[in-house]
């Protein structure tokens, strides 16, 4: 699992994002018009692509795209509260 693929999946999911718009240090809550709907889409995307289900607290603990990637990777490898 590579962060470039993770970012590419996010850029593909949101209509208003173009390739190159997102970097590992992007703060995802700074996305234009961020709402609870965006949060659900992130969680659904990670679940469908990586079979990892992030809960609300885990999402809250993340600030950047890299944080999201890291927690996803951790759960793939058997870490985190519930994999």
């Amino acid at each position: 699992m590579e962060i470039v693929d993770f970012i590419a999946a996010i850029e593909e999911e949101f209509d208003d994002l173009n390739p190159g718009d997102v970097s590992p240090n992007s703060v995802f809550r700074d996305m234009e018009g961020w709402s609870s709907m965006h949060a659900l889409i992130f969680v659904a995307l990670i679940d469908s692509k990586y079979n990892v289900l992030l809960n609300g607290d885990e999402l809250k603990s993340c600030v950047t795209i890299k944080d999201l990637f890291d927690i996803t990777l951790l759960k793939i490898n058997g870490g985190g509260a519930n994999t």
Partner: protein, 350 residues
């Protein structure tokens, strides 16, 4: 583990009723244009039906039942009426008793309410079966409906545009030659606060709380007497439990998803139903959706989807269906059943 094999029961008819009034997502005044687009894309809800102030869930179910009983000509054969709702007419008596009288059902008919929401229709089918399968009762009338819009605050962007109102009536009867049905169900009450109306009942009676509106998050205004929903918690609950429950049901039936005609899920929101469907490897055309036209209609969403999306198939074909309700509680139930020659009707409430 609640896993059951159900015998000797057949569904004869499913009728649904929706109010005439349409609320469109893009007309919701508290959404910006972008928010409306994002909401419609994520939830799938383009529009929904909202009942008038003086119309209750029992009124919508009454209309569905009245039409069904007239068409099926079996008023005097109903031995049990079950009304699944979380929006009854009164704290007491049970709305089912009022419906027994209004419908003109015999006084020998038992009638009670079941306080379940999104999982309630499937639990109602189970209850009907439990009474029918011994052969003592002739027919059961299962009513499932909710007026969720009575509980949501207009300025709560997370709840108000999500819910629609609907009622339904399902006729079941004893069938000595009926094929077995298979059920898996469960509860996780640790999620009770994820979908809740806190105030107005025994835990927080009306006189005891401050019912001022509070902005609990940007664009989310409500008081304790309104329905509050934690979308992330619901999503997590659904994705953790529903696929497992569906798999358990298939295992119990010794069938695979390939042998299924349709997977009919509670219409929570499109993101949830799509995520579950993909996990189950069920193609989109085998997973009908009605949420775009009606929103989340709580206990009525499964019968409404059957009436609006599968009417012809239910009438003409022998179908293998997996119905799965899940939500408030948290509570869930999956039922694998076969149907044949089921009458359906979708009616508007004036």
């Amino acid at each position: 583990m609640a896993e059951l094999i159900l015998k000797h029961t057949a569904i004869k008819a499913i009728y649904s009723v929706v109010p005439k009034t349409v609320y469109k997502t893009h007309d919701y005044p508290y959404f910006s244009e972008d928010e409306a687009k994002m909401f419609a894309k994520t939830t799938g809800i383009v529009e929904r039906r909202v009942a008038a102030t003086n119309v209750t869930a029992s009124d919508m179910c009454f209309k569905a039942a009245q039409s069904l009983l007239e068409d099926m000509n079996c008023l005097n054969e109903i031995d049990l009426l079950v009304f699944v709702t979380q929006s009854p007419d009164y704290f007491l008596p049970a709305s089912a008793a009022i419906l027994q009288d209004k419908l003109g059902l015999p006084k020998t008919c038992m009638a009670f309410d079941v306080n379940l929401g999104c999982s309630g229709y499937v639990h109602g089918l189970l209850l009907a079966n439990r009474y029918l399968q011994q052969g003592g009762l002739r027919k059961v009338l299962l009513l499932a409906g909710d007026k969720s819009t009575i509980s949501t605050h207009e300025q709560d962007k997370t709840a108000f545009p999500l819910f629609g109102d609907a009622g339904s009536a399902t006729l079941l009867e004893y069938d000595a030659k009926g094929e077995d049905w298979f059920l898996d169900a469960g509860t996780d009450g640790s999620g009770a606060e994820a979908i809740i109306i806190e105030a107005g009942h025994s835990r927080m009676p009306y006189q005891s709380f401050d019912d001022q509106d509070i902005e609990v998050a940007p664009g989310v205004v409500r008081s304790k007497k309104h329905l509050a929903i934690d979308g992330m918690a619901v999503f997590n609950f659904a994705l953790k439990n529903v696929p497992k429950s569906i798999n358990n049901t298939f295992a119990l039936a010794k069938l695979t998803t390939d042998q299924l005609d349709y997977l009919v899920l509670h219409q929570a929101n499109q993101l949830i139903t799509d995520s579950i469907r993909k996990k189950m490897n069920v193609p989109q055309e085998k997973c009908p959706s009605s949420i775009g036209s009606f929103g989340n209609t709580s206990s009525a969403s499964i019968p409404l989807t059957l009436c609006s999306e599968l009417s012809e198939a239910l009438k003409k074909e022998r179908l293998c269906l997996l119905l799965c309700g899940f939500g408030v509680g948290f509570s869930w139930a999956s039922l694998l059943l076969s149907t044949h020659n089921v009458a359906t009707k979708l009616v508007e409430y004036d």
